[in-house]
C-alpha cells in the first residue's frame, strides 16, 4: 500500500514538469541569455544595414538575447538545408520561408505553432497589432488545414499590371479593369500595331491560381482530397485564354521563350503593351533611357484585371518567417520576441520596404513620414519602384491565400504546366485540355 502511494506521489510530481515542456511559461521571457539563430537571404548592403539597425534596436530592449543572423544563400539553399538540419537536430531558431516550405518541414513536427505565442498573456500580440497586419498576409499562416498558425508574414510582393501609359493615352485607350475589357483592348491594340503581342504574363502558375480565386472555383485544399482544380470552370477559362493565344493577344514566359518584361521594355518591332509581373520587379519593366536621359515611354501601373471588380482577388508572394520548436522554452520565447519585433515594428518595416521595393506586412507604415514621402515620389520613370509599391498597398483588401500542404508547391508547378500546354493547342482542344488537367492531377498525386 505504501509503495503504491509513493508511486502515485512520484507520478503526481512528474505531471507538472511534463506539462511545462509543452507549454510556454506564463510569465513569458525571463531575461536569461539565449542565442537566436536566424537564417535570411538578404545580401544587399542597404537592406542588411536596415536589418542590423533593427537588431541593435531590439537589443536595447532585450540585451540578453543574442541574434545570430546568417545569410543562408537563396530560398532553394534554405529549402535544402533545413530538412537535413532537422534530421541532424541542428536547425536554426527562425528562418525565412515560404508557406509551402513549412508544410514540408512540418512533416517532422518541428515547426512551432504560433497560436500560444500570439495569444500569450505576457508576450502576445495586442488586438491592435493583430489588426495592423494586412489580413490576406496574416491568414496565410493559418492555411495549413488544421486551423493553427505556423508563419508570420515578413514582407510581401504581389502582381501588378504594367502598361505603356504613353501609348494608351496617345491612342485613346482606357486601362482595362476586367478580363472582358482586356479582350477588347487587345483587339484594338492588334489593329493599331498588328505586329505586337498586346499582353504578356510571366508566371503561368500565378495566372491559373489567381483565375481560380477570381472565378470562385476550386484549386486545392489543405485537407484531403487535395487536388481539386480539375473542374469545368477552370477548363473554361483555360479554353478562353487558348482562344486569345490563337488570336495573338497574349503570351507567357514559357511560351515566349524569354521574359515577357523584355517584350514590354523593348523599343524594337515586336512589343507588348501590357505586362503582368511581380511588383518587386518594377525596375525590369522600365525601358532603357534614351541618350538624352529621357524614357521612350512612361510606365503606368494598375491592379491586375479582375472577373468581378467588386470582389478583387490578387496573389501575394514573398517570404514569411517560421519558428522551430526547441527544448528550452526561453529560446522559443526569445525567438518569438524577435519575430514580433521585426513584423510589428513600423519603422523597421517601412525602412526595409523602401530599401527593397517589397511591401511591408503591416498597415501602420503609412503613418511614418519618410514612408509617405517615399510614396509621394512615385512616377512611371525613375521612381517606378515607388509607384508599384503604392499600387500594391492600395489593393490590400484583395489578397487571397492558397491552402498550404505537402504538395502545394507541386500543384503550383503543375497548374503552370497546364497553362503553357493548353494555350498553344491548335487541334482537339477540348480533349487535350482534359488530358492536360488529368496529367497534372496524376503528377500531383504521385509526388505526395
Amino acid at each position: 500500500m505504501k509503495k503504491i502511494l509513493s508511486l502515485i506521489l512520484v507520478l503526481m510530481m512528474l505531471i507538472p514538469s511534463v506539462a511545462a515542456l509543452a507549454e510556454m511559461p506564463a510569465e513569458g521571457y525571463d531575461g536569461s541569455a539565449v542565442t537566436v539563430k536566424f537564417y535570411h537571404i538578404i545580401n544587399r548592403d542597404d537592406q542588411l544595414e536596415v536589418l542590423n539597425n533593427a537588431i541593435v534596436e531590439f537589443n536595447k530592449l532585450y540585451p540578453n538575447i543574442t541574434i545570430d543572423a546568417e545569410n543562408a544563400g537563396s530560398y532553394n539553399d534554405i529549402l535544402n538545408r533545413i530538412p537535413a538540419e532537422i534530421k541532424g537536430h541542428n536547425e536554426p531558431n527562425v528562418t525565412f520561408c515560404y508557406a509551402d516550405h513549412v508544410a514540408t518541414y512540418n512533416e517532422s513536427n518541428a515547426v512551432q505553432t504560433l497560436d500560444e505565442l500570439i495569444d500569450h498573456p505576457a508576450v502576445g500580440l495586442t488586438a491592435e497589432q493583430k489588426a495592423d497586419f494586412v489580413e490576406g498576409y496574416y491568414n496565410e499562416g493559418k492555411s495549413f488545414g488544421d486551423g493553427k498558425m505556423y508563419t508570420l508574414p515578413f514582407y510581401k510582393s504581389t502582381e501588378v499590371m504594367y502598361y505603356d501609359k504613353t501609348f494608351f493615352e496617345a491612342n485613346g485607350l482606357t486601362v482595362p479593369t476586367t478580363w472582358d475589357e482586356v479582350e477588347e483592348v487587345c483587339a484594338k491594340i492588334k489593329e493599331i500595331d498588328p505586329k505586337s503581342i498586346p499582353l504578356g504574363y510571366d508566371s503561368e502558375g500565378n495566372w491559373f491560381i489567381t483565375m481560380t480565386e477570381q472565378y470562385g472555383s476550386e484549386y486545392t485544399s489543405a485537407t484531403e482530397p487535395h487536388y481539386l482544380f480539375d473542374n469545368d470552370t477552370n477548363k473554361a477559362f483555360v479554353k478562353k485564354f487558348n482562344e486569345w493565344y490563337q488570336k495573338g493577344y497574349v503570351t507567357t514566359a514559357g511560351l515566349y521563350g524569354a521574359y515577357t518584361s523584355g517584350l514590354f521594355t523593348s523599343t524594337d518591332e515586336t512589343r507588348c503593351y501590357m505586362c503582368i509581373g511581380s511588383s518587386a520587379g518594377a525596375r525590369y519593366q522600365r525601358p532603357a533611357k534614351a541618350e538624352d536621359g529621357s524614357y521612350p515611354f512612361e510606365v503606368g501601373i494598375a491592379t491586375i484585371p479582375q472577373v468581378d471588380v467588386n470582389n478583387r482577388k490578387v496573389i501575394s508572394q514573398g517570404p514569411s518567417v517560421c519558428i522551430f520548436k526547441k527544448d528550452n522554452p526561453q529560446e522559443v520565447l526569445a525567438t518569438w520576441l524577435f519575430v514580433k519585433y521585426l513584423t510589428t515594428d513600423a519603422t523597421f518595416q517601412a525602412n526595409f520596404g523602401m530599401a527593397s521595393g517589397y511591401m511591408p506586412a503591416i498597415k501602420s507604415v503609412l503613418e511614418i513620414p519618410e514612408f509617405q514621402e517615399y510614396l509621394e515620389k512615385a512616377d512611371g520613370g525613375d521612381n517606378i519602384a515607388m509607384l508599384s509599391m503604392k499600387v500594391g498597398m492600395e489593393q490590400t483588401d484583395a489578397y487571397y491565400t492558397s491552402p498550404v500542404f505537402t504538395g502545394s508547391a507541386t500543384a503550383r508547378n503543375q497548374v503552370g504546366n497546364i497553362m503553357t500546354t493548353c494555350l498553344g493547342l491548335t487541334e482537339n482542344v477540348d480533349a487535350e485540355i482534359d488530358k492536360a488537367f488529368q496529367n497534372a492531377v496524376d503528377e500531383c498525386e504521385y509526388a505526395n
Binding site: 534530421k87 515586336t270 507541386t410 503553357t420 504521385y446 509526388a447
Partner: protein, 314 residues
C-alpha cells in the same frame, strides 16, 4: 606466388582508402538499401517520430510511375549516343593534338578552356543557339523575334527553321540538342585523359613504324589504339557510368521543367526522378529508384569489363 607478407602489406596500402570508404561510401549505401526497404520512408517524418514497415512498396511505386519507362528510355538513349560519340571525337582530337608541332601549345590550352567556363554560361550559349523566342507558332499571328543562331545558319543556307526546344518541338529534336550539349561538356575531360595517355606511349613504337613506312591509318589502329586501350577502356566505362547518371544537363537546357513547355517532364531521367523524390522528402522512393538504376549500370559495366578483358592490352 602470393606471399603472406605481401598480403599484409597490400592491406596496409589499402587501409586509408578503405576506412574512408567505409564511413563515407559504404555506410550511406547501406542506409540507402535500408531506406529503400522501408515502405514510404520519409526522412522528415522519421525525424518527427514516425515509424515505417519493411516492404517493397517503394519499388512498386517507382515502377508504377506513369513516366517510369520514359525516364529509363531517356537515360539509356542519352548514354548510348553520347558515350561513343564523345569518346571517338575526343580520341580524334587528342591524336590530332598530339601529332602537330606548331600551334600545339595554343591549341592544347584552348581545349582546356571549357573547364574554366561557368556552366551557366554554357547553358546560356546553348539557349542562344537553339532557343526560338516568339509566339503563336503555326498560326497566322506567328511572331518570331529570333530563331536562334543554329536556325539562322540553316536558313542562311536555304533550309527551313527547326523547332529544337520550344513549344511543340519533337522528341528527336530535343534529344539532338541534349546529345550535342552532353558531348560538348564531356569532351574536355576525355581529351585531357587521352592526351595524357598518348604522351605516355613509348616513342620507340612510332619510330619503328616510321622506319617501315607504315601508313597513318594502320599506325592509328594497330599501334595507337591498342597502346591507348587501358585509357580508352577507362574513358568508356566511366563514361557509361556517368552517362547513366545524367541529370544536370537536362536542367541546363530545359530548366526545372525537364522538357519543352508543352510536355513537361518529357526528358526526365532516372537521376532526375531520384532528385524529385528527394525534394519531396520521399527518401524511400529515391533509394529504390537508385537501386534499380544501380542494377542497370552494374549489368552494363560488367559487359564492358568483359569486352575490355579481351581488347585491352597492358
Amino acid at each position: 606466388m602470393v606471399e603472406s607478407k605481401q598480403q599484409w602489406k597490400a592491406w596496409i596500402y589499402l587501409a586509408p582508402a578503405i576506412v574512408l570508404l567505409l564511413v563515407f561510401t559504404v555506410w550511406p549505401i547501406i542506409n540507402t538499401v535500408r531506406m529503400a526497404l522501408l515502405n514510404n520512408y520519409s526522412g522528415l517524418k522519421a525525424a518527427g517520430g514516425a515509424s515505417f514497415e519493411f516492404g517493397i512498396s517503394n519499388f512498386q511505386k517507382v515502377i508504377s510511375y506513369r513516366r517510369f519507362v520514359q525516364c529509363l528510355k531517356n537515360t539509356v538513349l542519352l548514354c548510348v549516343f553520347t558515350v561513343p560519340i564523345s569518346t571517338l571525337l575526343a580520341l580524334l582530337i587528342a591524336v590530332a593534338l598530339h601529332s602537330i608541332r606548331p600551334l600545339q601549345k595554343a591549341l592544347q590550352t584552348i581545349f582546356f578552356l571549357p573547364y574554366v567556363t561557368n556552366s551557366i554560361a554554357i547553358g546560356m550559349v546553348f539557349a542562344a543557339m537553339f532557343n526560338i523566342v516568339g509566339s503563336f507558332f503555326g498560326t497566322e499571328n506567328e511572331l518570331i523575334v529570333t530563331s536562334g543562331i543554329i536556325n539562322n545558319v540553316i536558313e542562311f543556307f536555304g533550309g527551313t527553321r527547326i523547332n529544337w526546344i520550344n513549344y511543340g518541338s519533337s522528341y528527336t529534336a530535343n534529344m539532338f540538342v541534349m546529345i550535342v550539349y552532353i558531348v560538348w561538356n564531356a569532351l574536355p575531360f576525355k581529351i585531357l585523359i587521352l592526351l595524357g595517355g598518348l604522351t605516355s606511349i613509348n616513342k620507340q613504337y612510332y619510330e619503328a613504324a616510321k622506319v617501315d613506312s607504315t601508313p597513318r591509318r594502320r599506325v592509328f589502329w594497330r599501334i595507337t589504339v591498342p597502346l591507348l586501350s587501358p585509357m580508352l577502356a577507362y574513358v568508356i566505362i566511366t563514361g557509361f557510368i556517368g552517362g547513366f547518371k545524367e541529370y544536370t544537363s537536362i536542367v541546363g537546357i530545359f530548366g526545372e521543367r525537364m522538357g519543352p513547355v508543352n510536355d513537361a517532364g518529357r526528358l526526365n531521367t532516372m537521376v532526375g526522378f531520384i532528385y524529385d523524390s528527394l525534394s519531396n522528402s520521399n527518401e524511400g522512393r529515391a533509394s529504390a529508384a537508385a537501386l534499380i538504376l544501380f542494377g542497370i549500370i552494374l549489368v552494363v559495366t560488367l559487359i564492358n569489363l568483359q569486352v575490355s578483358k579481351k581488347r585491352v592490352h597492358y
